[in-house]
Symmetry: C2
Subunit: 448 residues, 2 copies
């Protein structure tokens, strides 16, 4: 994409309404524009990041054997009256009357709707296990929306629902979500730590939240430092080897890790002092097992192998897709701007022409832009007539992983500069080398 | 995907509430489930089709140089009061009050919101031309929602907006949309005919609707038969060669083609009788040029090359993404079920095992499933223990382009059957031949 043809409204000033760095940077980079309190338009650059995050979430869910679908944003009140949550949910639920004065709401979550779909179509244990999920806009009418897209009112969320014959199998599904979530966040360059959590308005028996450490987080968390060094590995995983998956979950749930809601200072003291960490953090996902809390009142029963009708066991599992855009920025930026992890970066590399009047510079830029483009690599080419300093500052601000800098001096020597945004490391290389290096890095990314 | 692990709730009966064939077939195939009047959940099979259509729309828009972004579903009333449409829009607008009793609405379209984004960020002719678009859920509170997803209340739409310095350049953008829309529908296997249209609540000077012929269409259309044989060609198109693009538009707008709203019986009589066609049709897209209708009241001005502030010229352009799912089925089905055009088919091929107890059949099915899967081809493998007749009927109903049939008799001879759904043509071929044929057909599709 040539910047002269793009829509990237960079703000020079730090917007007064933004208190945290991700909100400031998203506004400055022209990623979002507030429509009204807690509701945002995703401008082209922000939309690209949102889509990349969405695709990673889809991909990891499908790898875990979960089935994508899509429920609507508007739901009838009747379903929530059946579960008993219509009155319980309180003022955060956006209630709506249509032209015929029937009662609806803008879905804040989908336990009722998915349970209705399940009970209308499934009646035998033979169709289990089943996990359905969707990624859809939700609404929670927060009294004080804040922190930009991190605590907006209209937000984009992945929510998935498992249906199982009994508690044991539902816990298998819980564990599958646990591990797939770790992998999902890991692929976005995030270190997310699972922590024992309270269940809140979703209800239920077990719950874990996934938290990303960041000074600006709303939550305070307490955990054993060993968790920082753990991961789920890179290889292929069979999510239906339940014993193996359970072992991964156990390894992550054995060290102490709790949010302020579940924190127990006495147990925490048993962790050796040098490994005790207290930090601020941002919640990016949460999983729940809640047994028959919805299936019983809503009559979602299946016939079991003994011919008896039993209520199905369920859990629900959420990832804050729009919130992740902010969380990633909170976790990955410096004083000059954002540092995008490659898998979620809006473009893979930026191309800066230091002298748009120099024919050789133009020729080399066009060549880099075309050759990389032919390989499917997305390049943001700053072909404007701004001065070099402004171009560098802008490219650092929007934080693409690689910067390719073409100037008259280097070009005279047959060289261009390749800069790695996260370290600032810059090397002067022949054109072909730069194209090769970028192509290799891109191939390594796409292979994952 | 193995059917035993999928969620595909096939209905045996034709649902009573569905009056038209696409609605009946979508319900029978387990593509959608009605949540409440005019609001649907997209079950896994339906969601896959919706996504494929969405991707084609994105792809063709990007080829035309238009920039994707995303606006929220909920909009503040103030913006619509500025344009004067808040009162004009009537009861089809879903009006919403939040917990603090502020006025919002669920966007039925986005002229106001995009104009607000434009005026906040663009002030010079140098940033033009600019076309921004998004694909987002909309709501129109129809009094009588009907025809399934073809006239729902919550629906998925691509809407794009061009901003130009003057009428001439805005018409270039109009023409660009005209041609890119023809290509978009063509890629979905549809013959869409552009017809002179009225502008309705969007307003403006010019408008064309794109209509697909179908006996069940709501509109009556009148056109010159020559239009049926015209297309935009297959080659690469430079959308910014305005004169070339204009010629394509002129070739499509010269023959008579009008909806009942704009029909003129006297002019129609000038078409030679054997070429006069009257038909029912379904509207799948519409484009508008409306000049300064929104930019003037909403103060969206730019400085022109002479230093004067002038209101920007605009148009808006819509494609009914969710409606297209129904429209494609209306245009492509037979008495046994849907016949998906390859580019929008939920899976590329179906695989039927005629005897799930036969080890050779199982082995061959697994081999076909894995080899095609490795090439990225999506296969729906009916591995259930239903009888062959039921499997054939189900596969015909959901209408995947290719069916691969594995039975004990053929396998004993080293052969399996390949059936082309649209013609019913069946050939018995060696396994390797079938894999090669399917792979070749798939490659031809992906190349486009």
């Amino acid at each position: 994409m040539k910047l002269s043809q793009y829509f990237l409204p960079i703000l020079k000033e730090v917007p007064a309404e933004a208190n945290i760095i991700s909100h400031q940077l998203m506004l400055r980079c022209g990623m979002i524009k507030q429509t009204t309190a807690g509701i945002y338009s995703w401008l082209p650059l922000g939309f690209k990041v949102l889509k990349k995050i969405e695709e990673i979430v889809h991909d990891e869910q499908i790898k875990a054997g979960h089935i994508p679908m899509l429920m609507p944003t508007i739901q009838p009140a009747e379903l929530w009256q059946e579960s008993g949550r219509y009155d319980d949910y309180g003022k955060e639920m956006l209630r709506i009357n249509d032209r015929q004065d029937r009662n609806y709401l803008y879905g804040p979550t989908n336990e009722e709707l998915i349970t209705d779909i399940f009970r209308s179509n499934v009646s035998s244990y033979k169709d289990l296990p089943l996990t359905l999920y969707h990624i859809q806009w939700k609404f929670r009418d927060e009294l004080r929306p804040r922190f930009g897209v991190m605590r907006g009112r209209e937000f984009y969320m992945k929510d998935g629902y498992n249906f199982d014959l009994n508690e044991k199998e539902a816990i298998d599904a819980y564990n599958r979500h646990f591990v797939s979530y770790l992998r999902t966040f890991n692929r976005m360059g995030l270190k997310a730590i699972p922590m024992k959590a309270e269940t809140g308005p979703i209800g239920g028996n077990y719950s874990h939240e996934f938290l990303v450490l960041a000074n600006t987080g709303e939550s305070t968390v307490y955990f054993d430092k060993t968790l920082l060094d753990m991961d789920t590995g890179q290889g292929k995983l069979d999510y239906y080897q339940n014993t193996d998956i359970k072992k991964v979950v156990e390894s992550f749930t054995t060290p102490y890790a709790r949010t302020e809601d579940t924190h127990d200072a006495n147990i925490f003291l048993e962790v050796p002092e040098e490994r005790r960490i207290e930090s601020k953090a941002i919640e990016v996902g949460q999983i729940f097992y809640f047994g028959t809390k919805y299936s019983e009142p809503m009559n979602a029963y299946v016939v079991n192998p003994d011919g008896q009708r039993v209520p199905v066991h369920m859990g629900s599992h959420g990832i804050g897709v729009s919130r992740l855009v902010g969380a990633i920025i909170e976790a990955s930026h410096d004083e000059r701007g954002i540092i995008w992890p490659e898998p979620v970066s809006p473009f893979f590399a930026g191309l800066i022409n230091l002298n748009h009047r120099d024919e050789e510079c133009l020729r080399v830029c066009d060549k880099v832009y075309e050759e990389l483009g032919t390989n499917g690599i997305e390049i943001l080419y700053d072909d404007t007539n701004e001065r070099p300093g402004a171009k560098f500052a802008k490219m650092d601000l929007i934080g693409l992983p690689w910067q390719i800098v073409v100037g008259p001096k280097g070009v005279a020597e047959g060289k261009i500069e390749l800069v790695y945004r996260s370290t600032g490391e810059a090397t002067l290389l022949p054109l072909e080398e730069v194209i090769k290096k970028i192509s290799t890095a891109y191939k390594a990314l796409v292979k994952d």
